[in-house]
């Protein structure tokens, strides 16, 4: 690794983790019916257990997050090359008595980023950018305030986000990150990269996204960034994984954004290995058709 002047052993493995949603208000033994936020349970079935309960609707107890990271540290950390971590690092905004604040969102994101840093950072150096395992975070729709709404940078939110992720985002991308909240990490220098794509600029639930056709739209600007980056990766003979929070499928993206994004993945099929996303909480895959995307765009024109 020429960045740190050290040899690195590669394992040919990496981790994808997503949607941790830790909730500091989660209280063991409280009522599930009241999102596990402290109210006494009415019956035994309503009891919020220590590590959380599947399908109950509560967010993650902090214990679940901490033990998950501990388990990864003990069983996987020494066997992987990098971590793709696709966002949503705070509870949902579904408790009317306890609405989330912008401060809480940033604070929890900072706490979770700190835990990743502690787990995967090199403990034998004072350089906070020296990682045993590279981490590539991306922005979730719940990591912004109000949820889903994220304006094109530079804004207070992109600045704050850079501060929180400053050890994960390569320094030379600080200015571009402040615009796009997206970045590139070389996980194997000169060979393999991972793109962290801010999918909120393409997400139809973001009230600031109308389409990806108007040149002032954040999605349009974001796709221009993507194009330059993919061109450079191709020129360097590298390969790349795409990553982000909201999956680029019709259900989630504005149609012009969906078709254009799909077309980029199609036309750069010589370098793009695949895409890893979160948000939907279900393990599945969606094939997207590049030729169909071009036809749809041609029709639009």
């Amino acid at each position: 690794d020429p960045r740190i002047g050290k040899e690195r052993l590669l394992y040919g493995r990496f981790l994808h983790i997503t949607d941790i949603h830790p909730d500091r208000l989660y209280k063991e033994g409280s009522s599930i019916d009241y999102v596990c936020h402290g109210k006494e349970p009415s019956k035994k079935r309503d009891y919020a257990p220590k590590f959380g309960k599947a399908m109950a609707g509560c967010d993650s107890p902090v214990d679940l997050m901490d033990h998950t990271l501990r388990w990864i540290g003990e069983h996987l950390k020494d066997k992987i090359d990098f971590v793709i971590w696709t966002g949503d690092n705070i509870r949902h905004d579904n408790d009317r008595k306890n609405p989330r604040t912008e401060f809480q969102i940033f604070e929890m994101n900072e706490i979770v980023a700190g835990k990743f840093q502690a787990l995967f950072g090199n403990q034998n150096t004072e350089d906070p950018r020296d990682f045993d395992v590279d981490i590539i975070p991306s922005l979730g729709n719940n990591d912004v305030f109000p949820h889903n709404l994220f304006a094109m940078g530079p804004t207070l939110q992109t600045r704050e986000l850079y501060r929180i992720w400053s050890n994960f985002v390569p320094q030379e991308q600080k200015r571009i990150f402040s615009r796009s909240a997206s970045f590139l990490t070389e996980v194997i220098p000169g060979k393999l990269a991972v793109l962290s794509i801010n999918t909120l600029y393409l997400f139809k639930a973001n009230p600031l996204v109308d389409n990806c056709n108007s040149r002032k739209q954040p999605g349009y600007q974001s796709l221009i960034w993507l194009g330059y980056i993919l061109d450079e990766i191709r020129a360097r003979g590298m390969k790349v994984w795409l990553s982000g929070h909201v999956p680029p499928i019709e259900k989630n993206f504005d149609s012009s954004c969906f078709h254009k994004f799909t077309l980029w993945t199609y036309e750069y099929r010589d370098i793009i290995i695949g895409g890893l996303y979160g948000h939907m909480n279900m393990d599945h895959f969606i094939p997207v058709d590049g030729k169909k995307a071009r036809k749809a765009l041609t029709r639009q024109v």
Partner: protein, 272 residues
């Protein structure tokens, strides 16, 4: 029969609409981590997206058979699985840690054979210079566009830079399509069985054990399945392997049930 067909079409339309317009974000906003409409969503994925792929694969088989009889028939449709798979890319969507279902994550494995013998890193402009240039380009681009949009008389259509040029034919396909360096080869899906973990934890703390020790002992992830596991083992994780799986999932209800069970991270979720 006609009325049945009509009903069927209506249902298909509903599925298509569900896929395109249902707003996952507002569901999440209202319901937090609760699983809402996930089975309906999966059903629509199967009926629309996976079924279309199955139909296209069937066409390939048909074309091959027709081709034997009428060799010179020209068609723009893909003639082989490789040609069809080239059209697609795969959006992989991960299970979450938040217990909408059980917590889960995935470890991907990829081919690094030959990396050490690879050619030396070519000398390129340092990344900081590239990003400095890019910053200037994006700034100019944005200011130009805003200025142009502000001028009403400007009727000249400028090329849309968010539509990529076609990939030059001379460039070979990448690791998603042909086995090579960095091709994904396998994945291992891990999950935490929360019921089992909580039961074990409370069993230990009831008997007077130290809570933090009991928590450490009880909490574990286990392998839920791997991409090589039955009943639909994948030879590799190239795009064509995903297409074949999508097609198989439309044809075999037992496979589909297992696929769904895995999609819902072995939580036993059933919308009904």
């Amino acid at each position: 029969e006609e009325s049945h067909k009509f009903g069927q079409d209506e249902e298909d339309q509903f599925d298509e609409l569900f896929l395109q317009s249902a707003d996952a974000a507002s569901e999440v906003h209202l319901m937090g981590a609760s699983p809402v409409g996930k089975e309906t969503y999966m059903k629509s994925v199967r009926k629309t997206i996976y079924q279309k792929i199955h139909d296209k694969l069937e066409e390939i088989v048909d074309n091959i058979e027709i081709g034997k009889k009428r060799k010179k028939k020209k068609t723009t449709k893909p003639k082989t699985l490789d040609e069809l798979s080239e059209r697609y890319s795969i959006v992989n969507i991960g299970g979450s840690i938040v217990p909408t279902f059980n917590p889960g994550f995935r470890v991907w494995e990829y081919n690094i054979t030959g990396l050490e013998q690879g050619t030396q890193i070519q000398q390129f402009k340092p990344w900081n210079e590239f990003f400095e240039d890019l910053e200037k380009k994006l700034q100019t681009e944005f200011l130009d566009e805003v200025a142009i949009e502000g001028v009403e008389s400007n009727k000249v259509r400028r090329p849309d830079k968010t539509i990529p040029k076609k990939k030059p034919e001379s460039i070979p396909l990448g690791p998603a399509y042909e086995p090579q360096l960095f091709s994904p080869t396998k994945f291992v899906q891990y999950f935490a069985d929360l019921k089992e973990i909580n039961d074990e934890y409370y069993g230990k703390t009831d008997s007077g054990n130290d809570n933090s020790k009991a928590a450490k002992e009880a909490f574990k992830f286990q392998v839920e399945y791997t991409s090589e596991d039955k009943p639909y083992p994948m030879e590799s994780l190239l795009v064509k392997d995903f297409l074949k799986l999508a097609s198989d999932l439309t044809q075999d209800n037992k496979l589909w049930e297992i696929f769904k069970e895995r999609a819902f991270i072995s939580s036993g979720y059933d919308e009904d």
